[in-house]
Symmetry: C2
Subunit: 423 residues, 2 copies
Amino acid sequence: MNLHRDPLPIADAVDRIMANKKQGKTEKVAIEHCGGRSLAEDILATNPVPPFDKSPYDGFALRSQDTMGLTRKNPGTFHVTETVAAGHRASRPMEKGEAVRIMTGAEIPEGADCVAMFEICQTFEESGHSYMEIKRALEPNQNIIEKGSETEKGKRLVRAGALINPGVKALLATFGYSEVMVYQKPKVGVFATGTELLDVDEPLVPGKIRNSNAYMILAQIERAGAEGTYLGKLDDDFETCYHAVSGSLKDFDLVITTGGVSVGDYDLMPEIYEKLKAKVLFNKVAMRPGSVTTVAELDGQLLYGLSGNPSACYVGFELFAYPMIQSLIGNPAPFRPRIQAILGEDFKKPNPFSRFVRGKVSFKRGEVVVSPVGIDKSAVVTSLAAANAFIVLPGGTRGYEKGDTVEAILLEHEHGQKQLEEG
Amino acid sequence: MNLHRDPLPIADAVDRIMANKKQGKTEKVAIEHCGGRSLAEDILATNPVPPFDKSPYDGFALRSQDTMGLTRKNPGTFHVTETVAAGHRASRPMEKGEAVRIMTGAEIPEGADCVAMFEICQTFEESGHSYMEIKRALEPNQNIIEKGSETEKGKRLVRAGALINPGVKALLATFGYSEVMVYQKPKVGVFATGTELLDVDEPLVPGKIRNSNAYMILAQIERAGAEGTYLGKLDDDFETCYHAVSGSLKDFDLVITTGGVSVGDYDLMPEIYEKLKAKVLFNKVAMRPGSVTTVAELDGQLLYGLSGNPSACYVGFELFAYPMIQSLIGNPAPFRPRIQAILGEDFKKPNPFSRFVRGKVSFKRGEVVVSPVGIDKSAVVTSLAAANAFIVLPGGTRGYEKGDTVEAILLEHEHGQKQLEEG
């Protein structure tokens, strides 16, 4: 076996993957079940908002011309003809000298063009009739939310490819989208390879470790917006692996294996890609961890051979599988946000290759700070729990110092803070 | 009805709510179903990591003393006695002059104390025996990942209250947590009140609007880590509302209503709290939007009366219900992250009250920038879709200018970017 592989720059590896991107499938789902999904249609305003002139306050609807010249010394009295609650309409157009008691959100009666808040009105009863008095003039349109003032009918409010968050859901409901077209979640099959792997419920035995990569990757798949299926762990036996992998291809958009991509005697994935006649897009990337990450393509379908080392596996997924999944769910911005940040601690290791260090982003006085979390070796699993970002340290350097500007790739948002005010 | 209510400072309102916080309930769930849940137990290293001395590379395990003095001009030859794949063990301790072919992740054979990578070794066969040759000396422990070097047995790796992300899942699997104790999702019941409300699948009719708050709040509840149940929309009728609300209390940790908390004729919630003998913690907060937000307490249970205005409802939930939910799922940092940011655009409106403006956080050259999105009125629903933060503008000011330092409360992380590299 040829042990030499030429490392490919990361950007080229991503390009080779994204050259295989294709339109994801779509489906209609009920508004109740669309949370967190990716829109496959633009959301349009199917009616103006508000759909009628409405009152922003509880008060009295008036004709502003009736209030001209009113002052503390020259108050005006109006006959209160009816009450309009939200969801109801006035029974008839208003006439000179009349007031309509109106509730927040209710439709402005025909003829009225302003609302006086309760707080500036006096009310009284006389001979079985209701009256209100006001001591100031109102302008036309004062305290009126005009029909269409927020949104005109037909306006595009959210573009396809956006994630359905609580605000988008409010829009769907407002505009009568009881069902909405979303992208189907891409189906991703996951195998863990390696005779050393035990199931999570098995006791440790000498020479073996528990399979953590499959559970981790399944959680990454879910976080990325896809649907993962665990297809089991495979011993390092060629026939077993070959049949398992080849038999799974038709059921999934992507197939991910962990382990078996290095140059060891039992690293079977290269041979499996060969027998499948899959085209290896790359089998070595100029990065740490995860340099052995391999991606192959067969009839437009991608097979990801991620490293068996937990951190390398994690990084390989986020760099190479995440953007493909995002692309399949129609996100026009499929890459993880990559921002500049201030390095919070020294990182003195020299970098022959670009390094993705597990880090934690925090914010201090308007600055973005990122610091490494835990030990940084490709086999290290414990640092992943605390990471919400990768620190990107380009290769060919002698290390970095606290205060240097670096790039960070954001993976998750911060979970919370102890005090209401900034800590 | 007394129209006057004294506005309470936001921090005091939050204090009154959090004085009612209590221990959430817990449950055991399988590792497959714990993603996104909140840990109710600390995660301990149940074994050292790695659990044995192991090889980080494919290569040959050697006794370092056998390699002393080896150079290009004075190479050493070793008898390759066997191959140890990951998951297997050497058949016997190594002796002087022997090498064991070893794969990444495999256990170091007894007697060996270093590994030579394939890349620096020559191999050959002679008389039916395998040999390897090496032209340099190795140090003791060179290329050995020592047992326990990453984590000692018994170490606490993740504290209760942490969210189970892909990294935490990897730890659960590594340490044999096939089941894990998590906090139960708090149960939150939601009513929308208002005769003006139509269902999402009903056509618009004059004076009415579709119910968007319930769908929005249910999505916020889900995002906050709780389980929401929509209990229906209620007309503005006292008996209907009273029986619906009082009948729901026993089934939920929190009950949220939208609408009906202002001082209008059909704002029934104050009267309902009174008849329930619930203690109103506050019914006016010094903030915009959402000043009418009301929270009442009955036998330790909280009833949230959120505004019927979409943006006010949204803000009220995030400020007052979110930290209570986080607290019920054991998060020791239950508040939304609140950070300093640079205002990206002018916001010239004077602020008598503290204002929570829907905004979008972005990152530019290591700085956090936050800009308002869309129109900012409490009734405005369309700006919520694009918001990933609130801009906190304290009251008593004449407005803010681009470049001012402001506070931002983070709601969501950014969705992505178009290019692999920073845009």
